[in-house]
């Protein structure tokens, strides 16, 4: 389960794997150009930034628009607070990420490669700089852009806007980045984990990658098992294995868990009993109306109040809004305030009903998907924690013990 492909080799905790060790372990980077797109198609690799879009198709749409001026933007913003995979990759396997980015640049004929790295990700930027300095094979101009430590900074159009104008706010689409992005050129925005997978697929082939998955799923993915920022375990799983397998492998006891936040703040709650057998496979999950997102598995203990945690997340998401669209600003704020009242067992009449209708109403009415993600998380909470919500609003009491002051669970 662990260390399958991306995390094979020296322990990530040991830090950066330098250029020499990287090439000694994996072999040199093949000189694939456009042919790589066909390989990626057959590998069934999907994006790991959250949208799970087929990578081969994405590269194809940029390659056919590029006239040597396309831009590759490696997205290492990692705006999702509980996720630690992108930072881990950039700090321990920077050359894999760079391999993927340079391969992309050759495949789509790019004139520039941008590494968009979260400013709050510890040594990630420093490590990537050192790794880039060790390379002599850049196929295009390279630059690093720091992503502000904000939730929406990792959004595709925000990343492009940041590279263009220095402000990481989403912009109205169309046109989408693959049509007009950095400098007005077709831009490939790809998560750093996805690019790392590309670095391996280019060397070992599409069949090798597909076989790493279980059943009909292809490949591996990094997931973060977490109960708050101070407590995160990143591990590599075979896609198609179950949520329960991953939590086991992270060394967590399955018994004490009440619910899982699948996909992080942008995902949804699932009751533990139902979650165990869910496959870690974005296609299969989507068929049930769920999403793997960026692979965060948030763990809610049996004696933690899901309503309280949901209220805190909703407040955070409202504050992290780009503040550009009325429905998102006012809608998420109203939802968060009502949820806080419900969590504190001091609801106003109709608070619960209004949260539901606000959440349903806000979807699709922002320039980006931020309000949709928040609404989805809140709606899932009302399903999974239904009895707890009722208890808070009608009996004005919480069935869980009060949170311990200074506790670090569900903090970020």
């Amino acid at each position: 389960m662990t260390g399958g492909a991306l995390l094979a080799g020296p322990e990530p905790a040991l830090g950066m794997e330098g250029a020499a060790a990287h090439v000694a372990r994996l072999g040199p980077l093949p000189g694939l150009e456009r042919r790589l797109i066909g390989v990626l198609d057959r590998s069934e690799l999907r994006g790991r930034g959250g949208a799970s879009f087929p990578v081969g198709a994405k590269w194809q749409s940029i390659a056919q628009r590029s006239r040597g001026t396309a831009v590759v933007l490696a997205n290492g913003a990692e705006g999702e607070a509980l996720s630690g995979k992108d930072r881990l990759l950039m700090e321990s396997r920077p050359h894999l990420v760079i391999d993927g980015a340079f391969l992309a640049a050759r495949a789509v004929k790019a004139g520039e490669v941008i590494f968009y790295i979260g400013e709050d990700l510890g040594h990630a930027e420093e490590t990537m700089r050192r790794a880039l300095a060790e390379r002599g094979d850049a196929p295009a101009r390279v630059r690093i852009v720091a992503a502000p430590a904000r939730y929406v900074a990792g959004e595709e159009s925000a990343a492009v806007h940041c590279a263009n104008e220095g402000v990481a706010l989403p912009v109205t689409t169309p046109p989408r980045p693959y049509e007009r992005g950095v400098g007005g050129h077709p831009t490939l925005v790809q998560n750093v984990e996805t690019l790392a997978h590309v670095g391996l697929i280019a060397r070992f082939g599409d069949a090798w990658f597909r076989d790493l998955g279980r059943d009909s799923a292809a490949g591996t993915a990094l997931v973060t098992v977490s109960s708050g920022k101070p407590d995160r375990t990143v591990l590599e799983v075979a896609l198609g294995s179950s949520v329960g397998d991953a939590i086991d492998a992270a060394g967590r006891s399955v018994g004490g868990i009440g619910a899982i936040l699948l996909g992080g703040f942008f995902g949804g709650w699932v009751a533990a009993a139902e979650a165990w057998r869910l496959p870690l496979d974005s296609v299969a999950l989507r068929a049930t109306g769920r999403s793997l997102g960026c692979g965060v598995l948030g763990l809610l203990d049996n004696d933690e109040c899901g309503v309280r945690v949901t209220a805190r997340i909703a407040g955070y998401l409202a504050e992290q809004s780009a503040q550009q669209c009325g429905p998102c600003v006012f809608g998420l704020r109203a939802i968060a305030e009502a949820l806080h009242r419900i969590a504190a067992c001091r609801p106003q009449s109709h608070d619960a009903a209004r949260v539901l209708s606000w959440a349903i109403e806000v979807r699709g009415r922002g320039a980006c998907r931020h309000p949709d993600g928040a609404a989805g998380m809140v709606l899932s909470a009302f399903q999974v924690f239904e009895s707890e919500v009722t208890r808070h609003t009608q009996r004005l009491s919480c069935s869980m013990p009060p949170p311990v002051p200074g506790a670090t669970r569900w903090t970020w």
Partner: protein, 194 residues
Amino acid sequence: MNSQVLWYTTRAAGVVSLILFTAVVILGQLARLRVASASWPRFLSADLHRNLSLLSLVFLAIHIVTAVVDPFTSLGIAPVLVPFGSAYRRFWLGLGTLALEITLALVITSLLRTRVGLRAWRLIHWLAYAAWPIAVLHGLGTGTDALSAWSLGVTIVCVVAVIAVTLWRLIAAPSDPLSGARRLAVERHRTIPQ
């Protein structure tokens, strides 16, 4: 057509133009202030603003044509298009020409707003705040009876009304409910320059 009739017509059309343009400016402010009620829907300020401005152009045209053909003024076509190009009351007439040209720019860009784009349209529309006072000064300076009681009275009412609405607009909160939040968010989402 004798000069007397032409002169009266020029004068009257000019006053009507001024009153209509004053209403247009006020309606523009009301739209910006989002004044609305059950009997005054939002689109009313915008629509009246547009329709009255087109109506004022009609009276403006009458005002200009009668002034040009009036043998007393012996204006040619030129001063209509070239500011300060007439021998007759050069400065005050020139102001009128200036106001006319700005007004034409306002109307044309507004009619073609979707093609011109929002930013360009907005920039040019700010010139309305120049066109209106210039028109008022033109009226005060060119009419031989400009300082007569009724003419002055009409002008004063128009000026007071525009000043009042403009003050109201300056005091009122910005019409974008998110303006403060947007600016803060931009600062929070800036990247550190590399």
